[in-house]
Symmetry: D2
Subunit: 115 residues, 4 copies
């Protein structure tokens, strides 16, 4: 079980009085921006270069930070929209299990509508 201190993230926001800026649309926009910053860590790198980078502690630090940024925006959005992220993941895994039955999806990278 992964534990995320979402209260600390919301407290951080509230200490800075940022909820006023956190419309769902801006948070969705921000999520895409953060996803882009994360992606930049892998841009132009071949698979073996990425494997090597993942051994480097500076790179791992930056990757952790970019992943945290994505997650923080997701937590902000969950709070702004009143979504329970833990329940949403559980519920999505049920949907995914129907879309991707083991016998059909095993070893395949096809999207569910092409399986």
């Amino acid at each position: 079980m992964l534990g995320i201190d979402d209260f600390a993230v919301i407290r951080f926001r509230d200490e800075r009085d940022w909820a006023q800026f956190h419309t769902p649309k801006d948070l969705a926009l921000g999520l895409g921006i953060e996803a882009g910053e994360l992606a930049e860590l892998f841009l132009w790198k071949k698979e073996d270069e990425i494997r090597a980078a993942l051994q480097d502690s500076d790179f791992r630090q930056r990757l952790g930070e970019e992943m945290a940024d994505v997650l923080v925006f997701l937590l902000y959005l969950a709070e702004a929209a009143g979504i329970d992220l833990g329940a949403a993941v559980e519920s999505k895994m049920v949907v995914n299990a129907e879309k991707y039955p083991v016998e059909k999806a095993r070893g395949s990278a096809e999207k569910w509508d092409r399986l």
Copy 2:
């Protein structure tokens, strides 16, 4: 404390033998794709339309699913790269607290390098 059943997500992946496709670069690409699908729920909607949509259970269901998709890709990437997401968020909040001191950042939407 938010609890995410990351074991269930990785088990789901492994039952389908999908780890072979999960290079960090593809997962980063997928994260951007999922962020885009989430964003589509808000596209063209005015603030009051978004507020109304958030009262609608179908819309909330879809939003929860798209947010879960983003989080699932983040969990896949955390597993592929060996990153502890809970620790990454904690550590990033410390960095953010330095970048955005309360007295400077309070009520401001400026980026840290313009505060």
Copy 3:
């Protein structure tokens, strides 16, 4: 008719011997990164703040640069994949005209499958 000097962009690439890095997947990843950087110019800004920013020559300069970055990646991808962008737009407008007939789409922000 908008004229884009795509030859200059490809010459720029070739003078730096960059085609070796330009796999379609990396270019797609880069496109998302650049779209994120462009989006950052609008993040947290209310509509009237954006309107004001668009009167500011520094902001316009930065916006133009980010839009150019997106377009340059699109040109790189067109070259790598052998796609004629001008023809692709023309052809897509025909498809769009069928998906969004004037009488149904007029004044509506709905997606074609919900019109």
Copy 4:
């Protein structure tokens, strides 16, 4: 010289009275969504699978459509913000030439601030 019929794109928009929805923020959001849809064509595919897909006319058709969607959003944004895209690319190439001098950037995938 690449010619893009931007007038046809704007006429298409105006026949449907869509300018009212086209705030710069929504167009930036839409650009990210379209970049995500384009990226989906390459997700999970190995380099040789992408090379094979690029020989397939259906795949090329879909790729052209997704690239056109990105470009159309860029044209909408250029119109909404009053940016001359052709001039923006020309001007950005001058900036890029300074950031990436041939002698330093040749054969390197490093970002300008690490060259």
